[in-house]
Structure formats: structure tokens, C-alpha cells
Symmetry: none
Subunit: 401 residues, 2 copies
């Protein structure tokens, strides 16, 4: 029996609520001057107070040495082994703009890009055109029908869009056209399996026609596609855990991920304050809340150590409001590390704090990477977080007679 | 997707180099008088300096409580699960004398031994005959052809030799003839599966003819065979990790193991100094170096606590020369423990140190078994060392979108 099947067998309703607070890219690396990570630098009296009563650990999202993408990291936090359940780039973009995928749809991530007269890519992002321009261009190339396959094109942000190929008998096993570098031509989309040949043909024709249409739209005079993928079949969290689940996230991608696993999406604003207010307003209506804080990751990606510190401190200040709600279990962690010194996601394990009146406290007194190393949860795979949260909320029956 | 497949998908070339330094049998147990292990007793200022900046842990090579043979221990360090990829005794002996095995070859470990007039084994090692005598006797029984199967016999050391059965359709699933005790007759080689029947017949005929040939060679008047095995099919490390790999080892068995996983073998001398000089001379030509230090294990096997301490100290003094090369990642560990107080390999986990500018330092300040217990890598399977080394060398792409 795998872990999800076990959860489905053992889970049972109970009155307590679970709150999962995800600080995107929470884990860090030491600042070269101070030797302290972002989390170790931040003043976090509320987190440290919770740590003293809770139990901590360090979680690996995918596996040792593996740097998780956002989809993989969140799936692990939601209890799904990200090596078993994979989400393609195209699907991730589509769910990120609330684009409903039908069974059999193939989604790809698109970039408007610039090519020169000899056909070489000179800018993979077309100078990061405005959202408005992106929407206009998407309308120009939306709705093509190629071999009975319809291509839906929807804007994301700046140069980014999603294309969904809708037709029968399509298979996603094709290569990208995006060369991932400049100074070279875009690539031909190739089928990796015979059954994907028809999609490859359609995609190449789509690119050719789009390029004709965009000829006069410099710098957005071509499109690059990647991450052709189909929606994964994820068993719904509500059925596995017998919970009514809600997601609160400012950024569409995280709402999309939550929707893929069956969470209800709560309407919220654009700030951390808005998100916490949404949580408070809806607290009575659900058993489980996933609340996503994006800005820690953005700061890490920008290499802005101090801004990441400030995001963590702002989060800390908002915590008492969450605690007042009195959840049976609260988990605070990240979906991966994003050390400012690396300016990217990384493979380093993320600190985890689980608070509940039923946890066995460890000696940890500060919420930090180094302190969590000695925590009672140890060094563990992140897919264990959901079973641990369920157990501490007294929502799992005994196993075996 | 298993770990090797994942590595194959994610690995990508990058300029940084990885050095894996293996102190054979590194792990120890406390000296009864001092309460300190060999590693804790040794003065190792350079290792301790590296530890302060690196990340440590304790690795299990095969599994809890399992004492690794040299082949299994090294396979784990190279990233192969030793429970999935097994190397038979015969193959290990063959690779240990640089005997190239062809596909389909079956290798067995042989002992020259003594039987009395009634055919009972009186000495399984024929009084440990000299290397010269062994070579002479091997020539006497080399080259038989039995049912179109050729038997190649090559000396190893003292009473030990290798026999390789070369022919078509051979299968290694047969029992040993070596009874592993004296006072009994040697055993008939039996097929464990129908397809191994032909090898069993050939092996029994080989033993009978060898015994006739050796009749007048008392005490070496018979042969005992064990560990019939075929070269395992190991996916090449170069293909998995996209690295150009080199091995530096004084002892042939370790060169043989490195060759099995596709490393190039560098010519070196007979001392630690020679090995480090070889590393330095060839540093520009490869991405990955495996350097094997045998003497820590030999001292442990001899129960010579002090000598093992001295080997570790000698290694420590040579370290600055390696650091000067500026590897992106350096890993220092063992292939198993060989506590002098046990005079043998043991199941105790081995200390691991990983140095890189991208590691998240832990609080460890000394390279020792007890200090590594609190290290940031935790208590982990040794097959993770390669993924972790690859990650810290920035040679792994992000997983998932």
C-alpha cells in the first residue's frame, strides 16, 4: 500500500483545522559576511516562540541534491511524490491563468521572442513586452485550426503565453522549439514517440503561421514553445484526507497547483495582509488551508538577501493573527530553498515547523536551517508533512488491530 | 524513475570538478583505553578546517547492520545501489588482476588446496603456497577446453587464482565446490537453474582434470572454486553524469571496480604521495576523480589502531595539495568501516565530508564519527553522495517546471 492509499484508509473527519503556510523559497544559504542565512538573519520572535512549543525538521522536496521546480515542490508538500506525479511546464502555465484543461488537451508554455533577418533568436523574451501588448498579440494568433486541432492562445504576463492544442488523439511526447539560448535558430518540434507525430506536425505548423502573422511585430516577431504536457491524474486531496480544502495565493500558478489537487480557491488581494484577512474571513468554512507567500522566493531569485529577510520578518509579524484562529495544526515551511547568494531555486532542504498541542517538543529554540537540523522531525522527505499534520490534528485512525 | 535515471535526465556539464577521496575502511570504533576512534585520535588540522566550512554526515553503504564488501561499498559511493547491482566474488577477483572479462564470461575464485588420500580437504589454502608456485601451477591447468568452453586460469596471490569459463550460452547460477571447511570432501558444482546445467558440467570436469594434473603437487593437489559470476551490467557513470571520470588507485581491485563503472584508470605509483601527484598531473583532463587510499583498511584489518591513525594523519598532511587544485566539490569518506578493535570490515556508518562553496555549513567542527552524527547531511544512504556532489558542483538541472 502506498502512502496515499494508506492515508485514504486511515483518514477520518475531526473538528480540528490544519493550516499549511508556505513561504516560497524559504531555505537559504549563509550571507558571505555574516555567515547567517536569510532566515537566521531575520528577527522572528513569533516564529521562535512557536518553535519552542512545536517540533521542527528539515525536509527534502524531491530527493537528495535535486532542485525542485515550483510544481514538484508543492506536490510534495501536498503529499504527492513528485517523481510519480509530474506536472509539465505547459500545464503549470495553463493552470496558472485559470485556463481549464479538458481531457486530452496538450498545453505548452510560449514566449514571444525576437529573431533577426537570418532567423537567429536575438531575445528569448522580446524585450519583455507589456501585458497589454502580449494580450493583443495573443489575439492575433489565437484560434488557428490545423489538421482539425484547435490552438487556443492566452496571455500570461509580459512575453509569456500559453497555447493549448485541443483535438483528438494528441500525445505530448514532443521536444521544445525554444532553444534556451540566443544566437541560434529556434528548434523544430520533434516527436519522441510515434504517437506524438501528429502533435509535432501541428506545433510546427502553428509556429510557422504565427511567425508569418507576427512578421511586422518586431521585437515580438516569433514564438518559442516548450514544456508540451498533459494534465496529470492526481487523486483529489479531499478524497484522500476527507478534508474540505481551501487555497489562498496571490499568484495564479499556486492557485492552479492547488486546483489540480482539488482545493477550492479563495478570492484574495495582492498582499500578505490580504491573504491573512482571507484566511480569517473563511476560517469557519474549511478544514484545511494552504496559504502561499510568494515574495520570499522572488527576493531570493533577485539575489536580494535583505529583501528576503524583510519578507520573512513581515510574515513573522502577521503570525499572531493566524494563531488567534486556534488551528489544531499549523505547518510553516517552504516549497524549496532559494538562497539569495545563488539567485535561484536550490536543492538544500527546507526548514519545517509543525505546531500542535500534540507534538512532542524538541530542543529547537529558533526557526532556522541550522537549528532545524537538530529538530524532532529529523531530516525527512516532504511528502511526510501531510501525514504528520493529519496525525497531529487527530485525523488518522490507528493502523492495524 | 529511479535515482540513476533521474541523474541521467538532470545531469548537465559545467566547468567545476569533483574529487572523491576514499579512505578505505575509514570508520572505526573507540580504543578501549581512550574512548576515541582512530579518526578521533588522529591529529587532522586540515580535515577539521575543511569540516568547519563543509557539510558532514554519516553514510550507510548497503543498509543498517550490513557489513559491506569492498565491491558493494564502492558501488554505493559511485551511486549504484549495491542490493540491485551485485558483483560476484569471481568477477571481483578477475577485475582485481586486470583480467578483461568478455560478455558471457563466467569467473570463479579458485583456491589451490590440499586433500588427503580419502579425498577430504585438509587445508583450504594449500599451506599458502608462494606467488611463484601459484603462477607455475596456474600454467599447468590453464587452457583446458571442455565442451567447447575454454577455461582461462590466472594467478592472484599465494593460493588464490581466477578461472574464467569462456564459451557460448553459459549461465552463472551454480553452487560452489569449496566446502568452506576442512575434514569434508569438496562439493559437486550443481546448477541452480536448468540453464546453468552446462556450466555445472564444465566446472566439475575442470575440477576433475585439474585434480589429475595436480596429483603430484602436494600440498596443492586440488582446486576449490566459488563465487561463479558474470560481469554485472552497470550503466556507465560517464553517461549517467555526463562526466569524464578518472580513477587513481594503487591496488588492482579498486582500479577494476572503477573500470566496471566506466572510469579511465590513471597510471600511478605505490604511495599516497604518488597518487596525489597523479591527481595533480591529470587535473586538467577530467571532470571527476576517484582516489583510493588503501592503507587505512589494511591497518584496521591487522588490528593496528596506531598505524590506522598514522595513515589518516598522513592523508591529512597531503590535503592542502589537493585543495590548491580548487575543485568545485570534494568528498572525503570511506567505503565501509574497519575498526581496528574488530580487525575486519564492519557495518558502522562512515563519516562523510562534502566541501563546496555552495554547501550549507552545519555546526560540525571536527571530522570524526561522533561529530558527523550532528552533520547537515544527516544519517543517509551512501548512494546519495553522487547526487549531492553533482548538485553542489551545479551539474544538475532543476526537476520539474
Amino acid at each position: 500500500m502506498d502512502s496515499l492509499e494508506l492515508m485514504k484508509v486511515l483518514s477520518q473527519p475531526s473538528p480540528g483545522k490544519i493550516i499549511l503556510l508556505v513561504l516560497d523559497g524559504l531555505g537559504g544559504l549563509p550571507h558571505p559576511e555574516t555567515g547567517k542565512t536569510e532566515l537566521e538573519t531575520a528577527r522572528t520572535p513569533n516564529l521562535d516562540g512557536l518553535v519552542a512549543k512545536g517540533v521542527c525538521g528539515l525536509a527534502e522536496l524531491v530527493g537528495p541534491g535535486i532542485t525542485p521546480g515550483s510544481g514538484a515542490g508543492h506536490l510534495a508538500l501536498f503529499g504527492y511524490d513528485p517523481l510519480t506525479f509530474t506536472i509539465g511546464r505547459g500545464v503549470l502555465e495553463a493552470v496558472g491563468i485559470d485556463l481549464k484543461l479538458e481531457p486530452g488537451d496538450i498545453a505548452a508554455r510560449g514566449n514571444f521572442a525576437t529573431i533577426d533577418q537570418s532567423g537567429l533568436v536575438t531575445d528569448r523574451r522580446a524585450g519583455r513586452i507589456s501585458n497589454e501588448k502580449c494580450a493583443t498579440l495573443c489575439r492575433l494568433i489565437d484560434g488557428m485550426v490545423i489538421n482539425k486541432v484547435k490552438a487556443l492562445v492566452r496571455p500570461v504576463r509580459e512575453h509569456r503565453f500559453v497555447v493549448v492544442f485541443r483535438g483528438s488523439g494528441l500525445s505530448a511526447g514532443v521536444t521544445d522549439s525554444d532553444p534556451q539560448q540566443t544566437g541560434v535558430a529556434s528548434k523544430v518540434v520533434n516527436a519522441l514517440q510515434p504517437k506524438a507525430a501528429s502533435l509535432a506536425g501541428v506545433a510546427n505548423e502553428f509556429i510557422a503561421r504565427a511567425q508569418q502573422t507576427l512578421a511586422e511585430q518586431h521585437p515580438a516577431n516569433t514564438v518559442l514553445l516548450r514544456g508540451f504536457s498533459q494534465r496529470p491524474e492526481l487523486p483529489a486531496m479531499g478524497e484522500i484526507y476527507k478534508l474540505k480544502l481551501a487555497a489562498i495565493a496571490v499568484y495564479p500558478m499556486y492557485r492552479g497547483l492547488a486546483r489540480l489537487v482539488g482545493m477550492e480557491i479563495l478570492k484574495t488581494g495582492n498582499s500578505l495582509e490580504d491573504e491573512f484577512a482571507t484566511l480569517k474571513q473563511n476560517y469557519g468554512g474549511y478544514d484545511f488551508f494552504f496559504l502561499h507567500v510568494k515574495w520570499s522566493d522572488s527576493a531570493g531569485e533577485d539575489g536580494d538577501f535583505e529583501r528576503k529577510v524583510r519578507v520573512i520578518e513581515e510574515f513573522d509579524r502577521a503570525l499572531p493573527g493566524v494563531m488567534e484562529l486556534g488551528p489544531e495544526v499549523m505547518v510553516i515551511t517552504g516549497d524549496h530553498s532559494t538562497p539569495a547568494v545563488l539567485k535561484s531555486h536550490s536543492w538544500h532542504p527546507v526548514p519545517v515547523l509543525l505546531c500542535s498541542r500534540w507534538c512532542r517538543p524538541d530542543g529547537v529554540r529558533q526557526f532556522s536551517e541550522s537549528a532545524c537540523l537538530g529538530g524532532g522531525l529529523g531530516h525527512f522527505p516532504a511528502t511526510r508533512i501531510m501525514p504528520l499534520a493529519m496525525a497531529h490534528a487527530l485525523k488518522l485512525a490507528k493502523f492495524g488491530a
